[in-house]
């Protein structure tokens, strides 16, 4: 197997704002060409980490490298190979999208500007007309943001909560776009929508309490933290409540007409135990499903435990 070089590495990065230590010791790397989902609670430090990578914030300690070059605060050369889509991209409202992309292209110094701009506008489905950006909806601005971020064919694309402003169709298109970059461009994206991370990420980093509590492939995270579960659907809420009482002392969770039973032993053992208890109590479920843990459950498990686990 050929070893893939890491495009981005963070070594013992620390950052405090006043007395608040946002990043205590962040340490991870991202292999070239992968899609890295970056999750954490509000205020966990995801945006700060991204700004440190872009040289927009100064780290108190630690080293960040992009493409083998160290990132410096203020004017870092590594930005030449990086694309950035902020959570709320800000543009010059008096410009047209073509004028704005032309400005970005001139700054980046890319060749074949006009062709590349047309290509990008086509990709994000914006028209190359005289409409000024000030009249754009938030979704259109987000799409223009994507176009400017990808304009210079970046080796590393950093997206800060890119799908938060998009409608379901736009979100779907954007995720497909990110997924299509796999292998060519390394993508680091933060989000609160964990299903988005599950859908396209190769690797996931969970930031909590100033540390990257978990950083691994989705499969390994499932293996490490994911507790499989049996989900029963009952006819009504009352039956579900009765079912929950019958199944105790198993660690059941009752929500509306559904009962969830996480398990650690073999599926068959737990399933038999559940079914026997239901038959005895004369309860008939409408459906029984075997489920693996969702990323949301893994996330809660990781931030609840607070152990630092890194399989990078």
């Amino acid at each position: 197997m050929i070893a893939v070089a890491d495009i981005l590495t963070l070594s013992h990065v620390q950052k405090a704002f006043g007395s608040k230590q946002v990043l205590k010791d962040v340490d991870f790397s991202i292999p070239q060409g992968s899609i890295f989902g970056f999750v954490g609670e509000n205020g966990a430090g995801k945006t700060t980490t991204m700004k440190l990578i872009l040289g927009l914030e100064k780290a108190d300690a630690g080293i960040i490298t992009v493409g083998g070059q160290t990132v410096h605060f203020g004017a870092t050369k590594t930005n030449r190979i990086t694309g950035y889509l902020p959570d709320v991209p800000a543009f010059y409202g008096y410009m047209t999208p073509v004028e704005y992309l032309d400005l970005c292209a001139r700054i980046t110094g890319i060749s074949g500007r006009q062709h590349r701009i047309a290509e990008m506008l086509d990709l994000v489905q914006l028209k190359a007309d005289k409409h000024r950006i000030r009249g754009f909806s938030r979704g259109m601005k987000q799409r223009l943001g994507i176009a400017q971020a990808l304009l210079n064919r970046p080796q590393l694309l950093i997206c800060d909560e890119p799908t938060s402003a998009l409608d379901p169709a736009g979100r779907n298109e954007f995720l497909e776009l990110l997924a299509s970059l796999r292998g060519q461009t390394t993508v680091l994206f933060s989000t609160h929508i964990l299903s988005d991370v599950e859908r396209i990420s190769d690797r996931v980093g969970i930031l909590h309490d100033g540390h990257l509590q978990a950083c691994d492939t989705l499969a390994n995270l499932h293996q490490q933290f994911g507790r499989p579960q049996i989900k029963l659907t009952l006819s009504d809420t009352q039956t579900a409540q009765r079912c929950g009482q019958v199944l105790r002392p198993l660690p059941v969770q009752v929500q509306a007409n559904q009962v969830t039973i996480p398990y650690q032993d073999a599926y068959e053992t737990t399933a038999q135990q559940v079914l026997r208890a239901l038959v005895t109590a004369d309860i008939t479920p409408i459906a029984l499903q075997r489920q693996s843990a969702t990323l949301e459950q893994i996330f809660l498990e990781v931030i609840g435990n607070g152990h630092t686990i890194n399989h990078a």
Binding site: K77, N79, L103
Partner: protein, 254 residues
Amino acid sequence: MATLSTMLKKELLETWRTYRFLILAVVVLIFALMSPLIAKLTPDIMKMSFGKTLQLAIPKPTSIDSWTQFYKNMTQMGIFVVAILFGGTMSQELSRGTLVNLVTKGLPRWVVAVSKYISLVVQWSVALTASFLVTWGYTAYYFPDAKTPHIWQGFVPLLLFGLFFLAVILFGSTLASNSYGGLLFTILVVGALYLVNLFKAAQNYNPISLIGNNMALVQGSKTLGELGPGIAIAIGAGLVLLAGTVILLNRKKL
């Protein structure tokens, strides 16, 4: 240098499309048209206002009255219009986050500061020169006398004061988090310079001297050489402020 040219074009496009230059041009051209006209009409206005109750003989207006009116308008109202129009030139970029996309594409921050300064200087120079030429034309038409022989000598210090003043505005706008903060900084600096001007020994070195002696220069009772120290300090301080703007911007979080 290519990025400087790109950003300068962006700045000029911005000032054009946001009507800032248009507003500046209209204001200074109104001053240009009004100055000779007010000088011409002042005796009539006074006669109409006071009628026969006015015992004094009103002297016939001359080109001196026209240029006095022009420099009074430009140095009192003109520069504050400039401060209000351009007070947010950097603070707006910083507060709106519009520089983030460009800086993360490799745009050096000094280019932002220098391009903004050049753009401000271009706008000031064009607007002021146009206003001056219009005033000159109208003054020559209304008052064909020889009482103001050195009109260019009055114009040059005002132009140079503008370069200093724009550096103050840009520095204040980078220092503050909003347009009002930048404006307040500019007002404080100008206020401080007027205070310094109370000391006679400092007057010759004060950049404010560049907007206080224009009529003496126009009439020939003073020469540009006498304002040399003030001019040198205004240019030097302008450059220091521009360098300070770059340093401030380099330290700013975007």
